[in-house]
Amino acid sequence: MSPHDHDHDHDAAFALRTEALEALMTERGLVPPGAIEAIVRHYEQDVGPLNGARVVARAWADPAYRARLLADATGAIAELGFSGPQGEHMVAVENGPRVHNVVVCTLCSCYPWPVLGLPPSWYKDPAYRSRIVREPRRVLAEMGLALPEDVEIRVWDSSAEIRYLVLPERPAGTEGWDEARLVPLATRDAMIGVARAASPGDGDRA
Protein backbone atom coordinates (compact mmCIF):
# COMPACT_ATOMS: atom_id res chain seq x y z
CA MET A 1 0.00 0.00 0.00
CA SER A 2 1.47 3.35 -0.96
CA PRO A 3 1.43 6.26 1.50
CA HIS A 4 -1.11 7.88 -0.78
CA ASP A 5 -3.52 4.93 -0.41
CA HIS A 6 -3.03 5.08 3.32
CA ASP A 7 -3.93 8.81 3.39
CA HIS A 8 -6.98 8.07 1.29
CA ASP A 9 -8.21 5.33 3.67
CA HIS A 10 -7.47 7.54 6.67
CA ASP A 11 -9.46 10.37 5.08
CA ALA A 12 -12.37 8.10 4.12
CA ALA A 13 -12.59 6.77 7.69
CA PHE A 14 -12.61 10.28 9.14
CA ALA A 15 -15.27 11.34 6.64
CA LEU A 16 -17.52 8.46 7.74
CA ARG A 17 -17.04 9.28 11.41
CA THR A 18 -17.82 12.93 10.68
CA GLU A 19 -21.11 11.91 9.03
CA ALA A 20 -22.00 9.83 12.10
CA LEU A 21 -21.15 12.70 14.46
CA GLU A 22 -23.21 15.11 12.37
CA ALA A 23 -26.19 12.71 12.45
CA LEU A 24 -25.92 12.36 16.24
CA MET A 25 -25.63 16.09 16.82
CA THR A 26 -28.51 16.80 14.42
CA GLU A 27 -30.68 14.29 16.28
CA ARG A 28 -29.89 16.12 19.52
CA GLY A 29 -30.91 19.44 17.96
CA LEU A 30 -27.41 20.94 17.98
CA VAL A 31 -27.12 21.63 14.24
CA PRO A 32 -29.36 24.46 12.96
CA PRO A 33 -30.06 24.20 9.22
CA GLY A 34 -27.29 25.81 7.19
CA ALA A 35 -25.04 26.40 10.22
CA ILE A 36 -22.25 24.08 9.13
CA GLU A 37 -22.10 25.59 5.65
CA ALA A 38 -22.10 29.14 7.06
CA ILE A 39 -19.20 28.41 9.42
CA VAL A 40 -17.15 26.69 6.72
CA ARG A 41 -17.81 29.51 4.26
CA HIS A 42 -16.74 32.12 6.82
CA TYR A 43 -13.38 30.45 7.45
CA GLU A 44 -12.78 29.66 3.79
CA GLN A 45 -13.74 33.04 2.39
CA ASP A 46 -13.94 35.82 4.97
CA VAL A 47 -10.90 35.41 7.18
CA GLY A 48 -7.31 34.79 6.24
CA PRO A 49 -3.88 36.38 6.32
CA LEU A 50 -5.02 39.18 4.02
CA ASN A 51 -6.76 40.72 7.05
CA GLY A 52 -3.52 40.80 9.01
CA ALA A 53 -1.68 42.11 5.97
CA ARG A 54 -4.01 45.11 5.90
CA VAL A 55 -3.25 45.78 9.57
CA VAL A 56 0.50 45.57 8.98
CA ALA A 57 0.42 47.69 5.82
CA ARG A 58 -1.51 50.40 7.64
CA ALA A 59 0.99 50.31 10.51
CA TRP A 60 3.84 50.68 8.02
CA ALA A 61 2.15 53.57 6.23
CA ASP A 62 0.64 55.43 9.17
CA PRO A 63 2.82 56.11 12.28
CA ALA A 64 -0.19 57.07 14.39
CA TYR A 65 -1.89 53.77 13.56
CA ARG A 66 1.35 51.90 14.34
CA ALA A 67 1.44 53.54 17.77
CA ARG A 68 -2.18 52.56 18.41
CA LEU A 69 -1.50 48.99 17.26
CA LEU A 70 1.42 48.61 19.66
CA ALA A 71 -0.49 50.21 22.55
CA ASP A 72 -3.85 48.47 22.01
CA ALA A 73 -3.75 45.89 19.27
CA THR A 74 -7.30 44.65 19.83
CA GLY A 75 -8.71 48.17 19.34
CA ALA A 76 -6.48 49.03 16.40
CA ILE A 77 -7.33 45.77 14.62
CA ALA A 78 -11.04 46.34 15.27
CA GLU A 79 -10.71 49.74 13.53
CA LEU A 80 -10.25 47.76 10.31
CA GLY A 81 -13.27 45.61 11.13
CA PHE A 82 -11.47 42.48 12.34
CA SER A 83 -12.55 40.79 15.57
CA GLY A 84 -14.06 37.52 16.74
CA PRO A 85 -13.12 34.18 18.27
CA GLN A 86 -9.39 33.77 18.99
CA GLY A 87 -8.93 37.52 18.65
CA GLU A 88 -10.51 38.65 21.89
CA HIS A 89 -7.31 40.16 23.25
CA MET A 90 -4.54 40.85 20.76
CA VAL A 91 -0.97 42.00 21.33
CA ALA A 92 1.27 43.21 18.49
CA VAL A 93 5.01 42.64 18.86
CA GLU A 94 7.34 44.65 16.66
CA ASN A 95 10.45 43.43 14.89
CA GLY A 96 13.46 45.69 14.51
CA PRO A 97 17.09 45.55 13.43
CA ARG A 98 18.11 43.83 16.70
CA VAL A 99 14.88 42.06 17.73
CA HIS A 100 12.96 39.30 16.02
CA ASN A 101 9.65 37.95 17.36
CA VAL A 102 8.11 34.58 16.57
CA VAL A 103 4.82 33.07 17.80
CA VAL A 104 3.85 29.51 18.72
CA CYS A 105 1.35 27.61 20.82
CA THR A 106 3.15 24.64 22.35
CA LEU A 107 0.08 23.26 24.17
CA CYS A 108 -2.40 23.23 21.30
CA SER A 109 -2.45 25.43 18.20
CA CYS A 110 -3.74 28.83 19.33
CA TYR A 111 -3.60 31.31 16.47
CA PRO A 112 -5.15 34.76 15.86
CA TRP A 113 -8.02 33.68 13.58
CA PRO A 114 -9.50 37.14 12.83
CA VAL A 115 -6.24 38.43 11.35
CA LEU A 116 -4.55 35.28 10.03
CA GLY A 117 -7.39 32.81 9.44
CA LEU A 118 -7.02 29.19 10.50
CA PRO A 119 -3.46 28.01 11.14
CA PRO A 120 -1.44 26.19 8.47
CA SER A 121 -0.59 22.51 9.07
CA TRP A 122 3.07 23.11 9.89
CA TYR A 123 2.13 25.55 12.69
CA LYS A 124 0.07 22.77 14.29
CA ASP A 125 2.74 20.13 13.73
CA PRO A 126 4.64 18.66 16.72
CA ALA A 127 7.94 19.59 15.04
CA TYR A 128 7.20 23.33 15.11
CA ARG A 129 5.49 23.29 18.51
CA SER A 130 8.26 21.31 20.22
CA ARG A 131 11.30 22.93 18.66
CA ILE A 132 10.63 26.65 18.21
CA VAL A 133 10.77 27.33 21.98
CA ARG A 134 13.97 25.33 22.40
CA GLU A 135 16.05 26.04 19.31
CA PRO A 136 14.38 28.93 17.50
CA ARG A 137 17.59 30.13 15.87
CA ARG A 138 18.14 26.73 14.27
CA VAL A 139 14.50 26.22 13.31
CA LEU A 140 14.24 29.66 11.70
CA ALA A 141 17.47 29.04 9.78
CA GLU A 142 16.10 25.71 8.55
CA MET A 143 12.98 27.57 7.41
CA GLY A 144 15.10 30.02 5.44
CA LEU A 145 15.50 32.82 7.98
CA ALA A 146 19.12 32.91 9.16
CA LEU A 147 19.31 35.68 11.77
CA PRO A 148 22.61 37.32 12.72
CA GLU A 149 23.88 36.40 16.19
CA ASP A 150 23.31 39.90 17.49
CA VAL A 151 19.59 39.74 16.77
CA GLU A 152 17.68 38.78 19.91
CA ILE A 153 14.96 36.22 19.29
CA ARG A 154 11.77 36.54 21.31
CA VAL A 155 9.52 33.50 21.20
CA TRP A 156 5.92 34.06 22.34
CA ASP A 157 4.20 30.88 23.55
CA SER A 158 0.50 31.79 23.48
CA SER A 159 -0.38 29.59 26.43
CA ALA A 160 -3.40 31.67 27.57
CA GLU A 161 -6.08 33.59 25.60
CA ILE A 162 -3.83 36.41 24.41
CA ARG A 163 -3.11 36.19 20.69
CA TYR A 164 0.05 37.68 19.19
CA LEU A 165 0.62 39.31 15.82
CA VAL A 166 4.16 40.03 14.68
CA LEU A 167 4.63 43.45 13.10
CA PRO A 168 7.45 42.77 10.64
CA GLU A 169 10.02 45.36 9.60
CA ARG A 170 8.97 47.36 6.59
CA PRO A 171 11.03 46.12 3.65
CA ALA A 172 13.71 48.36 2.16
CA GLY A 173 12.90 49.85 -1.20
CA THR A 174 9.29 50.63 -0.37
CA GLU A 175 9.74 54.29 0.49
CA GLY A 176 6.74 56.28 -0.65
CA TRP A 177 4.61 53.20 -1.30
CA ASP A 178 0.98 53.53 -0.32
CA GLU A 179 -0.87 51.10 1.89
CA ALA A 180 -2.49 49.07 -0.90
CA ARG A 181 0.88 48.46 -2.52
CA LEU A 182 2.40 47.33 0.80
CA VAL A 183 -0.32 44.76 1.61
CA PRO A 184 1.09 41.85 -0.45
CA LEU A 185 4.48 42.21 1.28
CA ALA A 186 2.99 41.37 4.70
CA THR A 187 2.92 37.60 4.33
CA ARG A 188 1.39 35.05 6.66
CA ASP A 189 4.85 33.78 7.63
CA ALA A 190 6.12 37.29 8.40
CA MET A 191 3.17 37.85 10.74
CA ILE A 192 3.88 34.55 12.56
CA GLY A 193 7.55 35.47 12.63
CA VAL A 194 9.12 32.64 10.64
CA ALA A 195 10.06 34.95 7.76
CA ARG A 196 10.80 38.57 7.00
CA ALA A 197 8.24 40.57 5.06
CA ALA A 198 8.55 40.02 1.34
CA SER A 199 10.74 42.43 -0.61
CA PRO A 200 9.64 44.36 -3.66
CA GLY A 201 9.93 41.97 -6.56
CA ASP A 202 9.90 38.87 -4.34
CA GLY A 203 7.74 36.19 -5.81
CA ASP A 204 8.44 33.62 -3.13
CA ARG A 205 6.72 32.73 0.12
CA ALA A 206 3.91 35.21 -0.50
Binding site: I36, W122, E161
Partner: protein, 195 residues
Protein backbone atom coordinates in the same frame (compact mmCIF):
# COMPACT_ATOMS: atom_id res chain seq x y z
CA UNK B 1 -1.92 16.83 32.82
CA UNK B 2 1.53 15.80 31.67
CA UNK B 3 0.25 14.61 28.31
CA UNK B 4 1.55 14.31 24.77
CA UNK B 5 -0.06 17.66 23.88
CA UNK B 6 2.52 19.48 26.03
CA UNK B 7 5.13 19.43 23.29
CA UNK B 8 7.36 22.41 24.11
CA UNK B 9 11.00 21.34 24.22
CA UNK B 10 10.48 17.70 23.17
CA UNK B 11 13.09 16.36 20.79
CA UNK B 12 13.01 14.07 17.80
CA UNK B 13 10.24 15.46 15.60
CA UNK B 14 12.52 16.48 12.74
CA UNK B 15 12.16 19.37 10.30
CA UNK B 16 9.09 21.61 10.27
CA UNK B 17 6.89 20.49 7.34
CA UNK B 18 6.50 24.02 6.00
CA UNK B 19 4.35 24.77 2.96
CA UNK B 20 3.80 28.10 1.26
CA UNK B 21 0.04 28.10 1.23
CA UNK B 22 -2.72 25.65 1.76
CA UNK B 23 -6.52 25.62 1.86
CA UNK B 24 -8.32 26.28 5.17
CA UNK B 25 -9.59 22.70 5.02
CA UNK B 26 -7.87 19.90 3.09
CA UNK B 27 -11.03 17.80 2.78
CA UNK B 28 -14.68 18.65 3.26
CA UNK B 29 -14.91 16.53 6.45
CA UNK B 30 -12.32 18.80 8.08
CA UNK B 31 -14.50 21.87 7.59
CA UNK B 32 -17.56 20.00 8.83
CA UNK B 33 -15.71 18.80 11.94
CA UNK B 34 -14.52 22.34 12.64
CA UNK B 35 -18.13 23.56 12.36
CA UNK B 36 -19.57 20.69 14.44
CA UNK B 37 -17.06 21.27 17.24
CA UNK B 38 -17.84 25.01 17.18
CA UNK B 39 -21.57 24.28 17.36
CA UNK B 40 -21.04 21.78 20.20
CA UNK B 41 -19.10 24.38 22.19
CA UNK B 42 -21.70 27.09 21.52
CA UNK B 43 -24.51 24.77 22.61
CA UNK B 44 -22.76 24.01 25.90
CA UNK B 45 -21.67 20.43 25.22
CA UNK B 46 -18.35 21.63 26.60
CA UNK B 47 -16.77 24.99 27.24
CA UNK B 48 -13.62 25.80 25.22
CA UNK B 49 -11.32 24.71 28.06
CA UNK B 50 -13.14 21.40 28.48
CA UNK B 51 -12.86 20.95 24.71
CA UNK B 52 -9.10 21.51 24.81
CA UNK B 53 -8.85 19.09 27.70
CA UNK B 54 -10.82 16.46 25.74
CA UNK B 55 -8.15 16.72 23.03
CA UNK B 56 -5.46 16.30 25.70
CA UNK B 57 -7.20 13.18 27.02
CA UNK B 58 -6.93 11.36 23.68
CA UNK B 59 -4.38 8.58 23.87
CA UNK B 60 -0.91 9.73 22.76
CA UNK B 61 -0.80 7.61 19.61
CA UNK B 62 -4.15 8.98 18.43
CA UNK B 63 -3.02 12.49 19.32
CA UNK B 64 0.06 12.21 17.11
CA UNK B 65 -1.46 10.34 14.17
CA UNK B 66 -4.98 11.77 13.79
CA UNK B 67 -3.91 15.24 12.68
CA UNK B 68 -5.47 18.48 13.89
CA UNK B 69 -9.03 17.97 12.68
CA UNK B 70 -8.83 14.25 13.46
CA UNK B 71 -8.21 15.30 17.07
CA UNK B 72 -11.14 17.74 16.94
CA UNK B 73 -13.34 14.90 15.63
CA UNK B 74 -12.22 12.45 18.32
CA UNK B 75 -12.63 15.06 21.08
CA UNK B 76 -16.15 16.01 19.92
CA UNK B 77 -17.13 12.34 19.72
CA UNK B 78 -15.78 11.81 23.25
CA UNK B 79 -17.64 14.81 24.68
CA UNK B 80 -20.93 13.87 22.98
CA UNK B 81 -20.61 10.41 24.56
CA UNK B 82 -19.73 11.76 28.01
CA UNK B 83 -22.51 14.34 27.95
CA UNK B 84 -25.17 11.99 26.53
CA UNK B 85 -28.46 12.39 28.38
CA UNK B 86 -27.33 15.53 30.21
CA UNK B 87 -29.20 18.81 29.88
CA UNK B 88 -27.11 21.35 28.00
CA UNK B 89 -27.04 25.04 28.79
CA UNK B 90 -25.49 27.31 26.18
CA UNK B 91 -22.45 29.35 27.21
CA UNK B 92 -23.61 32.07 29.58
CA UNK B 93 -21.18 34.77 28.50
CA UNK B 94 -19.04 34.63 25.41
CA UNK B 95 -15.28 34.92 25.39
CA UNK B 96 -12.78 34.54 28.19
CA UNK B 97 -12.05 38.11 29.37
CA UNK B 98 -13.53 38.64 32.85
CA UNK B 99 -13.18 41.45 35.37
CA UNK B 100 -11.72 40.60 38.77
CA UNK B 101 -11.77 42.48 42.05
CA UNK B 102 -8.38 43.64 43.15
CA UNK B 103 -5.22 44.81 41.49
CA UNK B 104 -2.73 42.48 39.83
CA UNK B 105 -0.38 40.90 42.36
CA UNK B 106 2.67 41.45 40.12
CA UNK B 107 3.97 44.48 38.22
CA UNK B 108 6.12 44.96 35.15
CA UNK B 109 9.72 43.93 35.89
CA UNK B 110 8.93 41.82 38.97
CA UNK B 111 11.04 38.71 39.35
CA UNK B 112 8.83 35.65 39.66
CA UNK B 113 9.15 31.90 39.86
CA UNK B 114 6.67 29.51 38.30
CA UNK B 115 5.25 26.92 40.65
CA UNK B 116 6.07 23.25 40.21
CA UNK B 117 2.54 22.16 39.37
CA UNK B 118 1.80 18.73 37.93
CA UNK B 119 -2.01 18.51 38.07
CA UNK B 120 -3.70 15.46 36.64
CA UNK B 121 -6.30 17.75 35.05
CA UNK B 122 -6.11 20.66 32.61
CA UNK B 123 -3.48 23.36 32.97
CA UNK B 124 -1.97 25.98 30.70
CA UNK B 125 1.42 26.09 32.38
CA UNK B 126 3.67 24.14 30.02
CA UNK B 127 5.96 21.54 31.56
CA UNK B 128 9.09 23.22 30.22
CA UNK B 129 8.33 26.40 32.18
CA UNK B 130 7.62 24.99 35.64
CA UNK B 131 9.68 25.77 38.73
CA UNK B 132 11.78 28.37 36.91
CA UNK B 133 12.70 32.01 37.31
CA UNK B 134 11.42 34.71 34.99
CA UNK B 135 10.45 38.36 34.80
CA UNK B 136 7.04 39.94 34.29
CA UNK B 137 7.20 41.39 30.77
CA UNK B 138 3.54 42.28 30.18
CA UNK B 139 0.60 42.62 32.56
CA UNK B 140 -2.43 41.36 30.66
CA UNK B 141 -6.11 41.71 31.67
CA UNK B 142 -7.85 38.96 33.63
CA UNK B 143 -9.31 35.85 32.04
CA UNK B 144 -11.30 32.73 32.88
CA UNK B 145 -9.01 30.28 34.70
CA UNK B 146 -8.78 27.20 32.45
CA UNK B 147 -7.59 24.84 35.18
CA UNK B 148 -10.97 24.96 36.93
CA UNK B 149 -13.21 25.90 34.01
CA UNK B 150 -12.18 22.80 32.05
CA UNK B 151 -13.56 20.68 34.88
CA UNK B 152 -16.82 22.61 35.38
CA UNK B 153 -15.48 24.00 38.66
CA UNK B 154 -16.14 27.63 37.81
CA UNK B 155 -14.53 30.43 35.84
CA UNK B 156 -12.49 31.85 38.76
CA UNK B 157 -10.88 34.57 36.62
CA UNK B 158 -7.30 35.64 37.29
CA UNK B 159 -4.82 38.14 35.99
CA UNK B 160 -2.46 36.86 33.31
CA UNK B 161 1.15 37.91 32.72
CA UNK B 162 3.64 37.38 29.94
CA UNK B 163 6.64 36.01 31.81
CA UNK B 164 10.04 36.30 30.13
CA UNK B 165 12.48 33.42 30.58
CA UNK B 166 16.07 33.41 29.41
CA UNK B 167 16.71 30.40 27.19
CA UNK B 168 19.45 29.24 29.58
CA UNK B 169 16.97 29.15 32.48
CA UNK B 170 14.73 26.86 30.42
CA UNK B 171 17.21 24.67 28.58
CA UNK B 172 20.42 24.81 30.57
CA UNK B 173 23.96 25.04 29.33
CA UNK B 174 23.33 24.05 25.74
CA UNK B 175 20.73 26.79 25.21
CA UNK B 176 20.93 29.05 22.17
CA UNK B 177 22.40 32.49 22.80
CA UNK B 178 20.26 35.62 22.58
CA UNK B 179 16.89 33.91 23.01
CA UNK B 180 14.06 34.89 25.36
CA UNK B 181 10.89 32.84 25.64
CA UNK B 182 7.67 34.47 26.80
CA UNK B 183 4.98 32.31 28.37
CA UNK B 184 1.54 33.67 29.31
CA UNK B 185 1.00 32.65 32.92
CA UNK B 186 -2.09 32.88 35.12
CA UNK B 187 -1.40 34.59 38.44
CA UNK B 188 -1.86 31.36 40.39
CA UNK B 189 1.01 29.77 38.47
CA UNK B 190 3.43 32.35 39.90
CA UNK B 191 5.08 33.22 43.17
CA UNK B 192 7.47 36.05 43.96
CA UNK B 193 11.11 35.13 43.40
CA UNK B 194 12.56 36.00 46.77
CA UNK B 195 16.35 36.04 46.64
Amino acid sequence: MDGIHDLGGMQGFGPVPWSASEPSFHASWEGRVFALASLAIAAGVANPDAFRHAIERLDPVTYLTAGYYGRWLAATELLMKERAGKTLSPLASPGTLRAVDGAPRFALGDRVRTRRLHPSGHTRLPRYARGLRGTIALVHPSFVFPDTNAHERGENPEHVYAVRFAARELWGEGAEEGVQVYVDCFEGYLEPDVP
